[in-house]
Amino acid sequence: MTPILETRGITKSFGSVQALTDVDFEVRSGEVMALVGDNGAGKSTLVKCIVGIYPIDDGEIQFDGKKVDIHDPKAASNLGIEVVYQDLALCDNLDVVQNMYLGREEHDVIRRLKEPEMEARTAKTMQSLAVTTIGSMRQKVASLSGGQRQSVAIGRAVMWNSRVVILDEPTAALGVAQTRQVLDLVRRLAEQGLAVVIISHNLHDIFEVSDRITVLRLGRNVAVFERSETTQQEVVHAITAGVPTKVAGIPTAGAEELA
């Protein structure tokens, strides 16, 4: 199965700081790919290169098997790549529907908002994601719990026929029950055929939800693990002491032996 999103040999430096060196990454439709690494490993930089916030120095991005140029986040959105950032970027003073449609409101010729249409589609999206905890779609986001807010942010990302959803630390700062909700939601996204990339520091969450795990260290590929064939110790070892390997898709072997 070919990956829907693939990067080959991405290199990015900020002045003299080499942030990414020759990084390969891929995610397939219907799978949850975890992206892990210590602070400064280049996870966020890679994501920002993929969605066009940072221009890349070298390498290429392939979407659907074709090489694409992504200059800005809008181009990424047009391809169907959405990112849910850690701060969620929600407006607390607006309600659920208003946040879901922020910046993409449905309107008629005199720019009048189509409220009933938007509310109905928001409710349907939430239903398809089995988010049932939100009492009213007209509730202000300020009054929602952390898990519900995350659900709104994720719902907003998937409502636009997106095909790849990148989640930046979705479970940080959440309690046990809330984390459960969000992880279930992530699983459901993959079951609906989306490609999901999840960035997290929490290996427990990652082992629960992901299919494969890509490890970065100091801006280089270290390993790609199949979740079912690896252990937390192995991943921790790769994060902290992994040796760069160029060949993505051939997991553990290279990294393990060299280490």
Binding site: A89, D92, L94, V96, P116, A120, A123, T132, K140, S143
Partner: protein, 413 residues
């Protein structure tokens, strides 16, 4: 016809489960108040208390004559306060509105002045004045949006500059008399009894039609509608207030044109703020500018437009003031006009912290300020008392705003 019957074929959508019985609606409203979302409630209570107090002191307070007086007195401040609401929604401030309104007064006075230089028609003069003041707003807004100068400083500079311009233009003349009837009628025209009632009836008809169409549209999309009894009560309440106010005013001079203008402006700007993409984006920028930017909203354009609205509405308010006095003088736009307008928006319930408030709060706040001023004048107290009372009300309103903001933050778990 019930909501349940509509949703019968499919399982109900999430977020639609909560009922719409009156008890349920009241309970939700009560919950919202507890969480700090007090809405318009404190203003209404305050207004009832103020009216009750002055009426008990002097029964002339509610007389038809005083009522029509009040309606024309508050027209200018309400108009300017509508613009202030938009600026406050962004979390910005506009201190120049007082003297910008003075500029509009000077422009209409100069343009109509029969000395052979301009002598344009009254209506044209008014349109030109509003356009020029809007451009002033665009200029000031650009400094805020593009260069990032704090709006407090930009508009403080505007306050000084435009005051200077007024003094310079009027100069030794000291006062410019307005003789144009169209301009003067803005504040001095009263509708005949029949015309007033007709206007109220048409307004009620439109309001009813709009409400019913809204309900039908929601039904068609299978979304919970408001309780039918409450909708009916709202419609009846609107009809009673509209027709009642006109009938009361008809006992004296009738419905003032200035007040009708204010109502039209309120409806128009409420529509812009709550029913259009522009309004939605104003709220979004005021709530979380970074989130709005990432959502693809052009934050700069929104900021500039909002400062244009603020200056333009100040200009229109200035025209009403000039029309009321039939002249502009060296004090145009000065005095307590600036503070009254900002206070009106804040007392009416628009937050100083941005993102929360409604256009109607301009009317509610102006009502409170004007009834207090009017009542104190009627009882024969001095301006000293007026200032002190208005100051205390403003403090109470801002305190309430700060408390509700804290509660809102806390309730977001």
């Amino acid at each position: 016809m019930s909501a349940e019957a509509q949703a019968a074929p499919e399982p109900p959508l999430p977020g639609q489960a909560t009922g719409n019985s009156i008890i349920e609606v009241v309970r939700r409203r009560f919950e919202a108040i507890k969480q700090g979302d007090v809405g318009i409630l404190p203003v209404v209570i305050g207004l009832i208390l103020i009216v009750g107090f002055f009426y008990s002191k002097n029964s002339n307070f509610l007389s038809a004559g005083n009522f029509t007086n009040l309606m024309t007195q508050m027209a200018a401040v309400t108009t300017i306060a509508i613009g202030v609401v938009f600026v406050l929604l962004l979390g910005e401030i506009d201190l120049s509105i007082g003297y910008v309104s003075g500029i509009a007064g000077v422009i209409v006075a100069e343009l109509q002045y029969p000395d052979g230089s301009w002598e344009v028609k009254g209506i044209v003069a008014i349109v030109i004045a509003v356009i020029i003041t809007s451009l002033i707003g665009a200029l000031q807004g650009s400094f805020v949006a593009y260069i990032g100068v704090p709006s407090f400083v930009v508009t403080l500079a505007g306050l000084l500059f435009w005051q200077g311009v007024i003094l310079y233009v009027i100069g030794d003349r000291g006062v410019i008399v307005i003789q144009d009837n169209t301009i003067n009628n803005v504040a001095n025209y009263f509708f005949s009894n029949t015309a007033g009632l007709l206007i109220a009836a048409v307004a009620t008809a439109f309001f009813t039609l709009g409400t019913i169409m809204g309900v039908v549209s929601r039904r068609r999309h299978g979304i919970v509608t408001d309780n039918v009894v409450l909708i009916a009560l709202k419609l009846i309440g609107f009809a009673v207030v509209a027709l009642g106010a006109v009938m009361w005013a008809n006992k004296e001079r009738g419905l003032p044109f200035a007040f009708l203008l204010v109502i039209v402006l309120l409806v128009f700007w409420t529509f812009i703020a709550e029913r259009t993409t522009f309004g939605r984006h104003v709220y979004a920028v005021g709530g979380n500018a970074e989130a709005a930017r990432r959502a693809g909203i052009n934050v700069r354009t929104i900021r500039i437009f909002v400062f244009m609205i603020s200056s333009g509405m100040a200009g229109l308010g200035g025209v009403i003031l000039a029309a009321r006095l039939n002249s502009v003088d060296l004090n145009a736009g000065g005095g307590t006009l600036l503070l009254d307008s900002i206070a009106a928006a804040v007392i009416g319930g628009t937050s100083l912290f941005g993102g929360r408030g409604r256009v109607i709060s301009a009317l509610m706040g102006a009502l409170i300020i004007s009834t207090v001023a009017n009542g104190i004048d009627l009882l024969g107290y001095s301006s000293a008392i007026k200032f002190m009372v208005t100051g205390l009300i403003l403090l109470a309103a801002v305190t309430l705003d700060a408390i509700s903001r804290k509660r809102l933050e806390r309730s977001g778990r």
